[in-house]
Point group: C2
DNA sequence: TAGATTGTTAATCGATTAACAATC
DNA sequence: TAGATTGTTAATCGATTAACAATC
């Protein structure tokens, strides 16, 4: 158990470990060695052991890892049992698609409210989530601890909303706009840049 | 101009360069130095010069880079002028959100058709794109060169569809499912794993 | 016990940063 | 010309892989 500074490379692999362990667990697999997991995931066994050693000792010599308990440990590290609260800003097509399709709960999040500017949407309930007027954002945030805001608004208003969210103490922004948000270091930003992703694929098909 | 093996780290930065140069270009900026670009993007000037040198010599000593021509060069590297053809599989919420909101054209892609299994959708036109029966996928692909398939289907059918797409010679799959697809190396896969992304954010808000 | 597999230390590999001669 | 800034080589830093003693 070191826990000094864990590199982002390691952190970004944790969800993949978690997902693979979930699948193994559902399939009824009880134990797995780093070697077996490595070949299933296409990485080296050494890397798996090295990664896990950043957080503790979860294995047993001569045996491997108990799938279910390792899954639970990694879930703990990722915070899936923290009861994180989320809101969503911008109930347009993408926002609604996330509300209706994405399983916030399996990531340990509770989506509590959505915000929009459109009078046609305000007051409605989408996928069980009430749509509120974004004008009341600060009032809402003052009354409800909010860990993450999902940002699915048009580009031009993204930065200003990010500022307001950070100002109100929201811990993280899940950014689906193509804007690179500037916020204080107290608010984390995780980008989902569709265009960057597609352009990377565009490059890959020209080569390989 | 080396062009031996360009690392994925470099490739994944190219779309960011491209995006920033687009913004500079739109703002009317004519020239920029690696130093100025680096401070705008929060990386080192050295890295920018090193990255670009993988593909050629685009700058001028004592001057810097011409914004518009560097933008065009990087666009060329990424393939935005190749007239890439795309199809979309799964015209559910997420698929429709992409069709209606995502600007395929600014990435140099033309979305030519969508496929679904639902009789209620087949035959419709969404965002100017015809929805076809997925049963006719192979027939379509035989008649239309297709560079990329956007995969927005439910998890359980994703792998089988990926197999069919690879089999039919589709160059790349833009994968929005939470499945890790197994396809031959001739087909590139670019994953957009929402859950992994949110879990990473979940970790980040627990720390910093 | 013998075989298997961990956690960790050391070795290697690759990516980032710094330095600088070339030159606009 | 003098100042600025490139492209590239060398130095540093960090991440991945290999090796192995510890031990179940």
């Amino acid at each position: 158990m070191k826990r000094e500074k864990v590199s982002t490379a390691v952190i970004r692999r944790l969800p993949r470990y978690y997902r693979n362990l979930e699948e193994l667990s559902e399939a009824g697999t009880v134990r797995i060695s780093s070697k077996a997991l490595s070949s299933a995931m296409g990485i080296t066994a050494s890397q798996i052991r090295q990664d896990l050693s950043c957080f503790g000792e979860f294995g047993l010599q001569g045996y491997g890892y108990n799938v279910e308990s390792l899954r639970r440990e990694i879930g703990e590290i990722l915070g899936v049992n923290r009861g994180h609260r989320a809101i969503l800003l911008g109930a347009g097509n993408l926002g609604r698609a996330l509300m209706e399709n994405f399983h916030f709960q399996s990531c340990g999040f509770l989506l509590e409210a959505a915000f929009d500017v459109s009078p046609a949407l305000i007051g409605q309930t989408l996928a069980g989530v009430p749509v509120l007027d974004v004008a009341g954002l600060e009032e809402y945030l003052a009354a409800h601890r909010t860990d993450v805001a999902v940002l699915t608004v048009p580009g031009p208003v993204a930065q200003e909303l990010a500022r307001r969210l950070a100002q109100a103490g929201v811990g993280g922004i899940w950014n689906f706009t193509n804007i690179e948000l500037a916020v204080p270091a107290t608010t984390a930003v995780e980008n989902v840049h569709f265009a960057d992703s597609l352009l990377t694929l565009s490059y890959m098909i020209l080569k390989g």
